[in-house]
């Protein structure tokens, strides 16, 4: 099992969710986050006051899938979240040791 963490632009969430649904991913966790990378913050000025956005709002998705699904999921997210412009985000894959479904006690891939 692997955990896929993807940082994407907020307005891409609906599209990514839809495309993931199409390949059979029916659940995910979503967090509102902020960050920066090569896409640096920028500032706007209003009446002499600077409004600096150092940390840019993004959405972080977390999905746990069976190892076989990883490539497909990466591809799906990368395509859907791509806008071609800087700040499109990143995808990370981490190993998952165990998963448990609270209601039934199922473990492993059954629990995903």
């Amino acid at each position: 099992m692997r955990k896929i963490e993807a940082i994407i632009k907020p307005f891409k969430l609906d599209e990514v969710k839809e495309k993931l649904n199409e390949i059979g991913i029916k659940g995910m966790t979503v967090v509102e986050v902020k960050g920066y990378g090569r896409q640096k913050g920028h500032k706007e000025i209003y009446r002499g006051a600077e409004y600096q956005v150092d940390f840019i709002p993004k959405i972080k998705l977390e999905i746990v899938v069976a190892a076989e699904m990883v490539e497909k999921v990466i591809e799906t997210i990368a395509n859907a979240a791509n806008s071609g412009k800087i700040g499109d985000g990143k995808i990370f894959v981490l190993p998952v040791e165990q998963a448990v479904r609270v209601r039934t006690g199922e473990r492993g891939t059954e629990a995903i």
């Binding site: 307005f11 609906d14 509102e32 640096k40 706007e44 209003y46």
Partner: protein, 883 residues
Amino acid sequence: MPGVEQIDIIAGADRNVKESISQNLLIKREHLISSFLDKREQAFTDKLSLLIDDYFRESYENSQVGLALGMIKNPYAIVALGGYGRREQCIGSDIDILFLFKDSVPREAEALIQEIVYPLWDAGFDVGHSTRSVKECIRMAGDDIETLMAILDGRFICGMSNLFVQVMEHLRRKVIRSRSGKIISLIVEDINGRHDRFGDASYLLEPNLKEGKGGLRDYHTMLWIARVKSDLRQPRDLEYLGYVSEKEFEALEDSVSYLHAVRNRLHHLAGRKCDQLYMEYQKEIADVITIVKKDGKQPVELFLGELHGHMACIKQQHQVFLSEMGFLKLQKKGRGILGKRSGVSGIIVTKRNMLDFVSLEAVLKNPELMIRIFEESLRLSIPISAPAKRVIKELDYLISGQFRNDPSIVNIFEKILLTVSSDYNVLNEMMNTGFLTQFIPELKGIQNLIQYNSYHIYPVDKHSLKTVETAKKLGMKANGHALFHELYHELEDRRILLWACLLHDIGKSLPSKNHAESGMIQARNILERFAYPKAFVATVSFLVGEHLYLIKTATRRDIQDEETVISVARRISNIDQLKMLYMLTVADAMATGEKAWNDWTASLVRDLFLKVLKILKTGELATPEATEIIARKKNELLSLRGINASGPEFSDSFEVMTPRYLLYVEAKDINAHIGLYSKLGDKPFVLDVEKDESSNTRIVTICAKNRNGLFSMIAGGFTLNSLDILDAQVFTWRNGIAIDVFHVTPPKDKIFEDENWQKTENRLLDILSDKINLAEKLKDRILKGKEEKRHTSKRPLRVNVDNDSSSFYTIIEVFAYDYPGLLFSVTHELFKHGIDIHMAKIATKIDQVVDIFYVRNFSGDKIESREETDRIKSDILNILETK
């Protein structure tokens, strides 16, 4: 006399009898409960209490231990306390009883408890019991207020009645009379603490039925205080003693019994004593209590609305009760009570420092007093008395069409709308007394209307009033909302914003799916009725209609894309409207609940706002003229191309064109460009040459796939072929296609012009295939050209890097003296700095050039670093020097 051991044996032997009594209770209780659940039982709490009374009486009569104790020697009484004492026993409640002994608690008391109480425990009841002598009881009640209150709720069940009477008499005469003030203060202190912990249940989504504001405890404290102050013996005494009117008491009783019904169902569902109405229980309860679906609303939404209405009633009565006692804050920070006077004849300030009408007749004669009292409340910062509120409720029919249309009354309302209330939220009071819903009848539809999701924690009417308050508060104090504060003070007419805040959700009263749209129409009707001028009405209804637009756009569309921002700018179309819409968005979201508004969302919306503002300010792109021009061009194009506007081919082409391109390029040229583009296919570029009849110059249009340095390559290519560039315009479409339009001097050789153009094309192909090193090839030519054009420059050369005018591009302006190859040099320099040219405008006048470049770095960002921009400036200046 039997010893203790013998009593134990006797008690044990009678266990069977006791068990059957408790079994009896269980059975009867089950029957009562199912009768209640079937809605066949009106006085449930009362009857349940009486069932339990029966148990104790029977136990008492059958008690062996009691027999042994003897009525003469050691008389005792069984007294019901707390909720049981008040005959308000709920399904999950504890049974609270007191075994009251005459002189001292005997050793046998333990056995008595076992005999009478244990069977109840065995049967699954929660029993709290105490054993006290009369003296002990009095002492403890005198020491501890909770004990005092519990005993004051006490009710004699069975045994020696005069023991109970003794205690109560003593408490009343000795304890209460001398310390009533202190006791009441302690009760009030407790109330405040409780309210702080549990919140205002009258509009929370998961209210605590007992402890929250508007919950059962508020009712109990009213009884306690009245008991202490005026020896209340039964709830109806609240009316008889003059604390509430008959109508008010009926309403109070109605609400309390509604709450009891809900609470009991909750206990039953949860299987335990649970007073917090969690969401998971709400639907089931609602389906039983409020069966019918009305106006497209779910039973659970109607139920919550009803529940909140009842809790609001209790809360109201409670507050009025307390303030009449003199317990609500009457003045700020202990300043003197005296000295506040009403400035309006017909309205007075009472001794308790509250506002009241002089008489009912005064109001009947002059209905305007009904709104003026709110005005005075605001001005003097003191509350309106209960009698005055009653009058307003009773006379609400006076708030008729004539009343509403009176401009002086509308003025007063505006004042109230505009002023920040410090202690007394006058708008809320207007709502609570029913004044506001008479004044603006459409508000009735959103009164107590619950929005059933975890996002909204207030019902729509409260939320709307909260939005108004939030806007005013943010506007008045900076508080970490500096931008809002700034904008608020720039507003010319705050009424527009505040009316919009008040009415923004009014559309929710209608079953339509789009409440913003339906609200817009309602807002218009309301304001037209109040005879506001057309422009005012139009702006407020615009704000109401668009109040979700900014937040939707900020979270669902790419705000780093200039297109998005421009389309928003066009839709909102003027700066004042934009500012007000932003403020409405912020106030609305903050008044919805924490989930709706946090730093994350706030920064997105603010970012969008500032970008749109800039576009509107520096704007040629989003003015109404611009919109018109582009619409006109679209139509022109349609006729030129002869295609159906709905055809996919056409709309596809239109999709990729940027706003600047559409604005600056003539329709016939756009048409030509589309034609040129259709020939591009896989080729790196296509080129078209046209003769400009008027000036005998040539117009060269190149359509190419954009790449870094494209412009410099083309410019260099022209210079290589000895073509002088007079003017140029460079555009990039959204699909990465560059449209470069050059005005060049005609070739010297007119006869073989076509062949020469073919040569140029071939050259360009080579350049774009990286077969030629332009910089090298042009080096000498440029040097020579510079020497020839050497000038004693009268005007200084200038390079300007502007990062302020646009949120999306860095704008580089170059003012210089022309020389052959200048354009190549400059654009090549930009390329070397990792800069991509999105749009450019090149113009020459005799021997001077003005070049404007809209650029970004290769990663798509503006070039914001000061170091970087300084370096670009100096590097370009170096090239420009002809000396």
